[in-house]
């Protein structure tokens, strides 16, 4: 709510009114006046802010002045593409990151552990769009293993998945490192605990001890991080969508920024920010549900 008002206020503090910027230098004064009135720009700031917040509460994000379609429809049309990409990336990252983290925790301080740690830091540090660009260059353009652009034929699931591989990998690679590090750290802690020692003392095979006794607890911090991860990945998804020319929220926002289409910029940023806040909230709640220490401290109060 606060963020929304801030965003709206920001647009108003900027010199030059949106109407003349949008119509370009060759617009006639009558045209400008008409658009100004249609967008309600002639009313006082507080009235505008009030009606703006009211409209958002009703789920109305205004109208795209170029195509005259409601912004909400445009944004929610593109959102599924981005969500699929982000979910695919986070799934891929977990499937790779969790085993790597376990592995390096079990073989602590071996050369393998060090190599994984090194790669993890490297993947976290390198900007994801550079990884995406190099993936396109090497795997799509040079080797032609994967398609370089597009989201695949509509209705053809196999083709869509085929188009999803590279962007999801490029987006998720940093998170592989992050998850591996987290799992390793919490796994090392859990392995010291009593119930793991008891399980070992009962002679359970190491695979069972790690897989079902230790991992079940060691994975908790990772799950809560994933919620925030999905939110932060929205930023990375923007680059992935542009590099791979995929439809999605990021591409929509980029095009809107390039054409100075303020209502669409606003709507996109609003929806993604809302989504980001929602993810953080959900991960906080999940964290509280999963972590008995937090739960107990709540009850103690």
């Amino acid at each position: 709510m606060l963020a929304v008002s801030l965003l709206f206020g920001m647009i108003h503090l900027i010199p030059g009114d949106p109407a003349s910027v949008m119509l370009g230098p060759r617009a006639t004064p009558e045209l400008r006046a008409e658009l100004t009135e249609r967008m309600g720009l002639d009313r006082p700031f507080i009235v505008q802010l009030g009606s703006f917040l009211g409209r958002i509460a009703r789920g109305d994000l205004g109208e795209d002045p170029f195509s005259n379609r409601p912004v909400a429809a445009i944004v929610f049309e593109q959102l599924p593409f981005t969500l699929v990409l982000v979910l695919a990336a986070i799934t891929a990252a977990s499937l790779l990151g969790v085993p790597l983290g376990c592995w390096s925790a079990i073989r602590r301080d071996s050369w393998l552990d060090r190599l994984i740690a090194l790669l993890a830091v490297a993947f976290i540090a390198i900007p994801s769009f550079v990884i995406a660009l190099y993936a396109v260059m090497l795997l799509a353009v040079r080797l032609r293993w994967f398609p370089a652009i597009g989201a695949g034929e509509a209705g053809n699931l196999a083709d869509q998945i085929y188009h999803l591989v590279l962007p999801a990998l490029a987006l998720g690679l940093g998170w592989v490192g992050y998850i591996a590090r987290l799992v390793r750290a919490s796994m090392l802690e859990v392995l010291e605990e009593n119930h793991v020692r008891t399980a070992r003392a009962f002679g359970l095979p190491e695979r069972v001890v790690i897989g079902s006794y230790a991992l079940r607890i060691a994975i908790l911090p990772t799950i809560t991080i994933l919620g925030i991860g999905i939110g932060t990945m929205l930023s990375g998804a923007l680059f992935a969508e542009i590099v791979f020319s995929r439809p999605g929220i990021g591409k929509l926002l980029h095009e809107a920024v390039m054409t100075r289409n303020y209502p669409v910029v606003m709507g996109t940023v609003l929806v993604t920010t809302g989504f980001f806040v929602l993810c953080t909230l959900v991960s906080d709640i999940v964290n509280a549900l999963l972590d008995p220490r937090l739960r107990n401290s709540e009850e103690a109060r």
Partner: protein, 288 residues
Amino acid sequence: MIALLRPHGLLRESLRKLRGNPLGFGGLVIVIVIGVLTVFAPLFATHAPNEVDVYARLQPPSGEHWLGTDQLGRDLYSRVLHGGRIAMTVSLVAISLSMALGVALGMLAGFGPRWLDRLLVIGFDTVRSFPTVMFALAVVALIGPSLNTVIGIVIITSVPAYARVVRTQTLALRERDFILAERAMGASTWRILRHHVMPNIAAPLFILASMDIPAVVGLEAGLSFLGLGVRPPTASWGSILSDGYAYIRNSPWPLIAGGIPLVLVTLGFTFFGEALRDIFDPRLRRKT
């Protein structure tokens, strides 16, 4: 920070420890080499960064053009060096300003009245509730792309991180005995902040800054890649990548030239930052 370290010979001690950490030392070497190359870019460059040579378009590396040429025949090696200046300027200016602002706001929140603290924390949380790149794009859409816009965006988005660290440390220090004693002896708030709080928050701040540099360099390159950072023909690692991406089917060299320094700088600063953290904060080392 130097003044803080000298009396204990801590600087020498840290350098010695850093040498025992090959990755951190390697990171420092990368940072120094790239720093020198970019600061003295005109000396090391073989061509002017914007010198167009249409007969030598999209060439692979050669004795004449060490990293090849781009779609206008501009020398990529020289452009990369000059692009490094942009990256370094943005990160140094933006990070030092956000650090200064973060220290001021964080201390204000930590040492000031309760209502001000609440207000500031709400402010920090508001800024943090935007996904960074989305926020950056919205700002660029409003005030137009330029280097100053990029710096401004970095400052707005990173001040909360610094301020939070400072606030937490200040709050923790505030009730400690030595501060209370100082206060009982009649020291002013300013004196306490300057002589007692500052030295205690310097180390975590510098660690945070060195870990922040890769993110800032990445953001600048990302925005320039999107055409929302520096204006053409100025060379930036992001704009080199963007040009290279447009000609990806003709030549891989612009992409390689633009990406390698980005990878090196982010890795260098990250490894160096991690080493710094290990040296100054042994508690964290045991955890991760």
